[in-house]
C-alpha cells in the first residue's frame, strides 16, 4: 500500500490486515509505556484545511505513539490564509522530506492530487464529500470487535448521505466486508443513483428493526436553509434514532460530532448499545495501523535489491 486515498482501493484481505495490526496496537495501548520506536527519525505531516477534533488528534497521537516527528499544520493561521495554493503548500512541506502527509481538505480529490505531487505516502483524512477511508476502517474495526464478522450483517446508514464522506466510504467498506447495506434519509439528502452503489434505499425508518447495526449521520443546521428538509423538528420526528426506535439488540454508531436531540436522542447516545466512545478509541489504534502499514510494513518498503534479504522491522523493535 503506497497511499490511503480511497477505501475502494483496499481488498477485504488488506482491510483485515490493517485491522489485525490495529488489534496488536490495542495491546500496546494497555502497557505502561504506550510508545513503540517503529517510525523513529521519520516525519509525519498532518495538513488540515478543515476543523477537526477526532481525526486530527488521533492521527497526531498515532504518529507520536509510533515515535515519528510530527508537524501539524492547520490552514487557519498558516500561509494558506495568505492565498498559497495547495500545490505550493505541499511543495513547501515536502522540503522537510516527510514520510507521510495526512490531508484533510474541503474538496474531493485533493489527497489524490497531493499523492501526484509529493514523494510522501498520502493519507486521505477526508476530502470534501468524497471519502474518509480511515473513518471507514475504524468503524469496521469497531463493529468487527462486537459482531465478529460483518458477513451477511444488515447495516442501516441513516441521515444526510448527500453531504457525507463517511457514508460513502463506509458504504464501500461495509459491503467489502460482506454486510448488506440500507441507506435511509429524506429524499433530497439521498443522492440520485445511490442504489447503483449496491445498497437499498429507504425513506422511512419503518423497517429499521431488521438492522443489526445502525449508523447515524450528522445533520448540519445549514441544510434547513437550503430546503433539503423543512425543519429540524420535522427531521427528528421522522429520522431521529431514539429509545423508541433503537432495539435492545441493535448497535448504534455515529462518526461524531453528534447533534444531540437531532439525529440521535440523548438517551441512545448514552445507552449500552452505543459504540460512539469505542469508535473514538478505535480511531487511535486503527490510525497507528494505517501509518504502520504505509511506512513500516514489508509492502511499503522500497523493492529490495535482489538477494540482500531485507526484512521489515518487526513491531515494537527499533527500526
Amino acid at each position: 500500500m503506497r497511499h490511503l486515498l480511497s477505501i475502494g482501493d483496499l481488498s477485504k484481505a488488506e482491510i483485515e490486515a490493517i485491522l489485525d495490526r490495529a488489534e496488536s496496537f490495542a495491546e500496546v495501548g494497555r502497557r505502561d509505556i504506550k510508545k513503540v520506536p517503529t517510525l523513529r527519525g521519520r516525519t509525519v505531516v498532518t495538513l488540515f484545511y478543515e476543523a477537526s477534533t477526532r481525526t486530527s488528534s488521533s492521527f497526531e497521537l498515532a504518529a507520536k505513539r509510533l515515535s515519528a516527528d510530527l508537524v501539524s499544520v492547520k490552514a487557519a493561521g498558516s500561509s494558506v490564509d495568505k492565498g498559497e495554493s495547495l500545490k505550493d503548500t505541499v511543495a513547501t512541506l515536502s522540503a522537510y522530506d516527510p514520510a507521510a502527509i495526512v490531508l484533510r481538505h474541503p474538496y474531493a480529490g485533493a489527497a489524490q492530487l497531493v499523492a501526484e505531487w509529493a514523494d510522501a505516502a498520502v493519507v486521505n483524512a477526508g476530502d470534501g464529500k468524497h471519502e474518509h477511508p480511515s473513518q471507514a476502517l475504524l468503524d469496521v474495526y469497531t463493529l468487527r470487535r462486537r459482531l465478529g464478522s460483518l458477513e451477511g450483517k444488515r447495516i442501516w446508514i441513516v441521515g444526510d448521505v448527500l453531504h457525507s464522506r463517511v457514508a460513502r466510504s463506509n458504504l464501500i467498506a461495509f459491503r467489502q466486508m460482506g454486510a448488506e447495506l440500507t441507506v435511509c434519509g429524506p429524499p433530497a439528502l439521498i443522492p440520485r443513483g445511490l442504489e447503483q452503489l449496491g445498497c437499498a434505499v429507504e425513506h422511512s425508518l419503518e423497517r429499521l428493526g431488521e438492522a443489526e447495526a445502525i449508523y447515524a449521520l450528522r445533520l448540519q443546521h445549514e441544510r434547513m436553509s437550503e430546503s433539503f428538509v423543512p425543519s429540524l423538528r420535522e427531521y427528528a420526528a421522522h429520522f431521529q434514532i431514539d429509545s423508541r426506535r433503537l432495539g435492545r439488540r441493535q448497535l448504534l454508531m455515529h462518526p461524531g460530532p453528534v447533534n444531540r436531540g437531532v439525529e440521535l436522542s440523548g438517551e441512545v447516545i448514552d445507552s449500552p448499545q452505543s459504540l460512539i466512545a469505542e469508535q473514538v478509541a478505535s480511531g487511535l489504534v486503527v490510525r497507528m495501523a494505517i501509518l504502520y502499514e504505509l511506512l513500516a510494513s514489508r509492502d511499503s518498503e522500497p523493492a529490495p535489491v535482489a538477494g540482500n534479504g531485507r526484512h521489515a522491522t518487526p513491531i515494537g523493535q527499533p527500526a
Binding site: L86, Y107, A108, P191, Q196
Partner: protein, 450 residues
Amino acid sequence: MSETRLEMRAGESADVVLRGATVLDPVAGIDAPHDVVVRDGRIAELAAPASASASADGLEEIDATGLHAFPAFFDPHVHLRVPGQEHKEDIETGSRSAAAGGYCGVLAMANTAPPVSTPADVEALLADARASASVRTGFLATVTAAMQGEELTEMASLRDAGAAGFSDDGLPLRSARILRRALQYQRLCGGTIALHEEDPELSGAGVMHEGPVSAALGLEGVPSISESTTIARDAAIAGYEQARIHVQHLSAAESVEAVRAAKAAGVRITCEASPHHLCLTDEAVRSLDPRRHKMNPPLRSEADRQALIAGLLDGTIDCIATDHAPHAAEEKEVPFEQAAMGVTGLETAFAALHTHLVLPGTIELGLLVEKLSAGAEPFGVERPSLAPGSEANVALCDLAATWTVGEDGYESRSSNSWCAGEQLTGRVQMTLAGGQIAYRLRSFSMGVAA
C-alpha cells in the same frame, strides 16, 4: 466564405495543387480522387488525378496521395479569451490552434474580462484579428450589458460594428423577459442569438452530471433538466416572437428531445454539440482530473451520449462546435470542485471524432465532415465548400495517421485538452483558410510529385 464580419491576417494567396487527394465534400456532392488546383486562393479546378499541369503554372506541388481533402471546418463556439485573459489564449494562438485542427473559421464568445459589450470592443477585436488571426475570426457580442443579465446591449450598433451574433455564453439568460426583448430587437438588427441553456436554480453549485457517478464521488450534480427545461422555455419564447436562436453545447437526452420538438413545431432553432460530449461520459470524471474532465455543461451519461449521436444522425443537431475553453495550468491544478470549467478542443476535434465515432462505424465520415463545417450557417456565414470557384478552405487529413495528443505540445496557449495523452487516429496535415495556407504539420513532408 469571405465575410466582412470575419477577419484574418492578410497574406499570400495560396497557389498549390493537392495531387491525388481523395476529395470529400458531402454538401457539394463530391467524393472522388482529384488533383485539387488552388490558384490565387480559390479552388480553380478539381482535375482528374495526375492530370493537372501544375509546374507550368508555378503552383506548389503537394503529394496528397492517400490523404483526404475536406472542406475546412468552421467552429461557431470558441473562447479566445481576449480581452483580459491573454494568459489563457489570444487571437494569434487560438486561431493557430484552429488552423491546426483543420478549421478555416471560428466565432469567439464574448465572456471575456471585461465582456465584449460595446461597438468599440468589437472594432478593436476585428482589428486584432486582421493583424494576427490565422483563420477567419468573428466575434459575438453579449446580449446584456456587461453580461449582467439585466439590460440589453446596443445590439444594432454592435451589429454595425461587426458583431457576428450575440451570446451571454458562460451564463444563461435568467430572465425570460430580457430574452424576449432581445429577440424582439433582433428584427431590427439581425444576428443570431446563441444561448447557453441552464437554470442556475437547478444547477446550484454542481460540478458534474447528477447521477450514480456524482453519488459515488460526493460531487454536487447538475441535473439534465437544468438544461432541457431552459431550452423548452426559450424555444417557446423564440417561437412566439418568430425569432432566430441557436442552442449551444447540448449535453443531455432531454435537451435533444426539446430541440427536436421545437423544430417540429416550426421554431427557427439550431443547435450544436461538442466533441467531448459525443465521445466521453460522466464515467470519465472518476479520474477527478479537472484538466480533462471538468466543463459546463458536464459530461453526461452513456444514454445522453447516445441521444446526442442520434441527434446528429437525424439532423436535430445541426453542427459540431468545440466550446474550446483554454485555461492556465494553475487554474486546473486544484481539486476538482475548485477548478475552472472548460477544455480545449480545436486541435483534436476531427481526430477524436474520427477515432471515437467514425472508425467504430457509429457515424459515416461524410456526416462528420458535414457537421464540422455546418457551424457557419446558423450565423449567416457561407459554408466552406470545395466546389470549383470557392475560396480555398481545405482541411487535408491523413485518416491513418496515429498520434498522441499533446506529445508535441499544443498550438493553443493552454494544455487542458479533454483527450490529452490519448492516442488518436486521423490527423490534419495541412489547412487552407481564407485562401491562405494557414497550417502545415511540421512532419508533413512537402514532396514534389514526380
